[in-house]
């Protein structure tokens, strides 16, 4: 199928076409970058600019992320009759074989029933940062096709920092924790999230204690240049707190300002180049006379810059 045709089919509701288009954005073969450019140009031609609010949802395994996302999606589908939602769920790969088992999908009812929801699983392919190497690229397509893109990532600590480079906002989901854990977490990801979600708040006593120690910990941890993120208490079991998340979403829309987009693109361009050619390759690239030209291109036309480097080094 030609790019324009493929995009038109997606718009007409052809899920097979959408699934295949996403695969193009996951394609590791060097020449695939040209197909990606063509598809994005086709989007531009069909008046599909980036529009989605991209929200990263991260937290430890067992924090209840998937179930919470399930409740959130049901609520959003009920509240707004047209909103479309894409979910990318990243799970780790086996270091031994490179393979993976991706099971998040089973916990999202909307992924079985609603035509307004699209769900894609990704394996982390041993990449650090809780994301797959291609999550950013796939986002570049999905943000043109959906109103909301949710990125579910797995992991704890420093690894999670990556997600905030892809997403406009990041939510950190935590189960009720003891004080020791909170001390420990302060050092790592506490500076990242835009919202702290204390999930499983139906476990009331523990949740109440966690809430108060979190609040006092946050007051200390924030160095002052960022506002203290809100703590929202949720329970996927009883559904409480989910409406607060919906309200937060409508109060905080997508950040589409140019500077932010550009710095994000440059970040992932560097990451991609290091993945493909190694640190030595990156250092070599930095010495190239057209280094700053390519970086400038990367911030506007990510795939174009990739194509240029790929051709130069082919």
């Amino acid at each position: 199928m030609q790019p324009a045709e493929l995009i038109a089919s997606i718009r007409a509701g052809d899920r097979r076409a959408l699934g295949r288009a996403v695969t193009v954005f996951e394609d590791a073969r060097p020449l695939a970058v040209h197909k990606r450019r063509e598809l994005l140009s086709a989007c531009d031609a069909q008046n599909l600019p980036p529009r989605a609010h991209v929200v990263g949802i991260t937290g430890t395994p067992g924090a209840g992320k998937s179930t919470l996302i399930d409740s959130l999606i049901s609520q959003l589908l009920r509240d707004s009759p047209h909103r479309t939602i894409a979910v990318i769920a990243v799970d780790p790969s086996s270091a031994q074989s490179g393979g993976s088992i991706l099971g998040d999908r089973t916990r999202i009812q909307g992924a079985r029933t609603s035509q307004r929801v699209f769900f894609r699983s990704q394996a982390s392919s041993l990449a650090l940062g809780g994301l797959s190497r291609t999550t950013f690229a796939v986002c570049r397509l999905l943000e043109r096709l959906f109103d909301l893109v949710l990125l579910e990532t797995v992991g704890v600590g420093q690894n999670e920092i990556e997600v905030c480079h892809v997403a406009h906002h990041t939510w950190l989901v935590m189960p009720p924790l003891g004080g020791d854990h909170i001390q420990w977490m302060k050092a790592g990801i506490m500076e990242i999230p835009d919202v702290l979600i204390l999930n499983k708040s139906d476990q009331s006593e523990l949740a109440r204690r966690s809430y108060h120690s979190l609040r006092s910990a946050l007051a200390l941890a924030q160095p002052g240049f960022r506002s203290v993120p809100p703590i929202i208490r949720t329970s996927a079991l009883t559904g409480s707190g989910v409406d607060e998340l919906v309200t937060w979403l409508s109060d905080n829309s997508a950040k589409q300002d140019a500077a932010e987009r550009q710095s994000r693109s440059r970040y992932f361009f560097q990451r991609w180049l290091v993945d493909e050619y190694g640190r030595a390759g990156w250092r070599q690239f930095e010495q190239q006379p057209d280094y700053s030209n390519v970086m400038a291109l990367a911030s506007e036309d990510f795939e174009g810059a990739q194509a240029k480097v790929t051709t130069a080094l082919a």
């Binding site: 052809d14 899920r15 097979r16 076409a17 959408l18 699934g19 295949r20 996403v22 695969t23 996951e26 394609d27 590791a28 073969r29 695939a32 067992g62 790969s93 086996s94 031994q96 074989s97 490179g98 393979g99 993976s100 088992i101 991706l102 099971g103 999908r105 089973t106 916990r107 992924a111 079985r112 699209f118 769900f119 894609r120 699983s121 394996a123 392919s125």
Partner: protein, 671 residues
């Protein structure tokens, strides 16, 4: 006067012979009428109790008319839509004389209500009813998959059944704690002991903590707890396991619950001997396996089963025919009546070997029980996936040992060459064939019930049931009224679902590893890497179980093996519709779909899956199927375009993976 030690004496000191255990055969299929005929036939041949198999829609709380139910009607058991079906099912079978075991879990309260309602309408006294509803929801979450409601609600339902039965149906066992399915899911003997006992502890703790029973009533409830146990091929160890069960149960009921009366502390159990170890290759050998496994639960008098049901020699091939079941029943009769087994006191008392083995099992089991109690108990260990993960790990280990030839399975991984079996001859090829036309009759009967019933009474009964579910009142009596008012199985379950919601569990496969190593694994991994480079992505396979059959072990092992060799596996779990699977494959842009079906509905479900794929422009995605699929059906499936059919004889996981990889390679080469 005293007798020599080998003479069995009764309470008055007279030499005696034990009564035989109850002989049962797990049976039921097609329609209530067909099953009734089968039961009466079996009883006339000397069977002494009934063991009812229900079809999957009945087990999962759907009426036969529900779309997900249609392919499954009457397949693995009898369909029951309303009290009218129960009247047919038990026609000419006197309830008071029967001991009826029902393999029913998610809808156990409903089936008990139907049984009580049947007694009332037939003018029999419910107090005379004897039998068991299986109703062990924990093992449904772990292994069997016919749960409906979340754990909290399910445990409440079970508790209310105990509270009701204690005085109203005093000889009925409202639940059977099942270690059977734990063994099938891979449990070691110590795990089987620990997980079953921790389940019983969870149940009794809850009944105690609800505070609706005084100590006397609670002691009687403890006396109603019974177990359903598996007996495997390592029959000496299995016998020791049963002795360990008996001793541990006595210990727990005395120490944890302070039950003074020894008769309430007795470990009461029924057995179905192991079906998992039965082989598809050289199936006649299974007859010997069944015999040996029966010995494990009958030889030791102190740990002998109360009821025994044996599988049939050909269960790895298809559902058994009436003759196959008769052959197994004859085994029981010979063992109980021809041999001298029932004439002796316990044969193993005083054996230092047995005693030491029993103690070692008890030690391991106690450790595991304490570990789970420290985690917070059975419910927490379900929520956290602890038990499931432990089982999947044991199962992987078992598969590894068979694959590596460390565990010999005669005719399967050793001595594979054999003469053709004459048992597989005959017009039916030695297999049971379901009457595919009978479903229409079931649907017609359901329509008749709906047309004839008093609609006002049915709706009022449903409203009262919901009200009880919400308010926390007992749902037993409202359920009986629903039964009398000709409410259907689907309506009863839907009313409960509307209050409690539906449960979707954690899968147990996260973090599992297979110990498979060696050249063949390395070569497969490198083939998959080559494919990955060619495709531009790691091959993605969607694995799941369509339909209502919840036995997920096979699908899980395949998922773990596929990751082990380097696939990205999108695991969908159980109870999926063909549409779910097609949608998943399309959105994930899968390179292959693998489905597992053990219910006998493989023809219908693969057809539906193909239809859904075609609708979504995805008819080109290759589909492979695993399950208990007779060779004739397999040939038809291949003709229809299924790329490979795997059956229990394909136990070599690496071989299965190699065939799947080859299909992808062919596809890629063909462009």
């Amino acid at each position: 006067m005293s007798h020599p030690a080998h003479v069995l004496v009764d309470k008055t000191g007279q030499p005696t012979r034990d009564e035989a255990w109850i002989f049962r055969t797990y049976a039921g299929h097609t329609t209530a009428a067909a099953s009734n005929a089968l039961y009466r036939e079996n009883l006339s041949r000397g069977q002494t109790g009934l063991s009812i198999a229900f079809d999957l829609p009945t087990q999962c709380g759907y009426s036969s008319a529900h779309p997900i139910a249609r392919p499954e009607i009457g397949k693995v058991g009898v369909p029951v839509n309303s009290l009218d079906d129960f009247h047919v099912l038990f026609d000419q079978i006197p309830l008071a004389k029967m001991n009826t075991s029902m393999t029913i879990n998610g809808t156990s309260m409903w089936l008990l209500a139907l049984y009580i309602a049947l007694a009332r309408e037939r003018g029999e006294n419910p107090r005379d009813l004897r039998g068991t509803t299986q109703n062990d929801i924990i093992k449904e979450y772990l292994a069997r998959g016919t749960y409906i409601f979340p754990p909290e609600a399910s445990l409440r339902i079970t508790a209310e059944m105990y509270e009701y039965c204690l005085d109203e149906v005093p000889n009925f066992n409202p639940s059977n704690v099942c270690s059977y399915h734990l063994q099938e899911a891979g449990a070691t003997p110590a795990q089987e002991l620990a997980f079953a006992l921790i389940t019983a502890i969870g149940l009794l703790d809850q009944l105690r903590d609800r505070g609706r029973l005084d100590q006397d009533a609670f002691d009687r409830v403890v006396g109603r707890i019974s177990f359903f146990v598996n007996s495997g091929i390592r029959f000496v160890e299995e016998m020791c396991k049963m002795r360990a069960f008996t001793a541990l149960w006595d210990e727990i009921t005395l120490e944890r619950y302070g039950v003074k009366d020894e008769k309430y502390r007795r470990f009461r159990y029924g057995v179905q001997v192991n079906s998992l170890g039965l082989t598809e290759s050289q199936p006649e050998n299974n007859a010997w396996r069944i015999l040996i496994e029966a010995l494990g639960v009958t030889l030791s008098r102190d740990a002998r089963c109360r009821a025994l049901q044996l599988p049939a020699w050909n269960e790895a091939l298809s559902l058994p025919r009436a003759w196959d079941q008769q052959w197994s029943l004859r085994l029981q009769q010979i063992l109980a009546y021809e041999t001298d087994l029932l004439e002796y006191p316990d044969l193993f008392d005083g054996s230092p070997v047995i005693q030491s083995k029993v103690e070692s099992l008890m030690r391991d089991a106690r450790e595991e029980i304490d570990r789970i109690l420290a985690m917070g108990g059975v419910k927490q260990s379900i929520d956290s996936g602890y038990m499931k993960t432990a089982l999947v790990r044991s199962m992987s280990e078992r598969m590894r040992r068979i694959n590596a030839g460390e565990q010999i399975v005669v005719g399967m991984n050793k001595w594979k060459d054999a003469l053709p079996s004459p048992l597989l001859g005959g017009e039916d090829g030695g297999l049971f064939h379901v009457d595919r036309e009978a479903a229409a009759g079931v649907l017609a009967a359901l329509q008749t019930t709906l047309a004839r019933r008093d609609e006002g009474r049915a709706q009022a009964a449903l409203a009262a049931l919901k009200q009880a579910a919400i308010s926390g009142e007992s749902m037993m009596e409202p359920s009986i009224e629903c039964a009398l008012a000709r409410v259907t199985t689907g309506e009863w379950a839907d009313a409960m679902r509307s209050v409690f919601g539906e449960y979707r569990p954690a899968t147990g496969i996260d973090g599992q590893k297979l110990g498979l190593t060696g050249e063949r694994v390395d070569s497969l991994r490198s083939r998959l890497q080559t494919l990955t480079d060619k495709l531009g992505h790691r091959p993605r396979i969607v694995i799941g179980k369509p339909g209502l059959d919840g036995h997920s072990n096979g699908a899980e092992v395949i998922a773990v093996a596929a990751r082990h060799v380097g696939f990205d596996v999108i695991y969908g779990g159980i109870r999926l519709t063909p549409e779910d699977i097609a949608r998943t494959a399309v959105e994930e842009d899968a390179d292959m779909i693998g489905i597992s079906i053990l219910s006998g509905s493989h023809m219908e479900l693969t057809e539906q899956l193909h239809g859904s794929l075609v609708v979504q422009n995805a008819g080109d995605i290759p589909v492979v199927v695993g399950g208990i699929i007779p060779p004739d059906d397999a040939a038809v499936l291949i003709k229809r375009g299924i790329r490979a059919v795997f059956t229990p004889s394909d136990y070599e996981l690496i071989e299965v993976m190699a065939r799947m990889t080859a299909i992808l390679e062919e596809n890629h080469a063909a462009g």
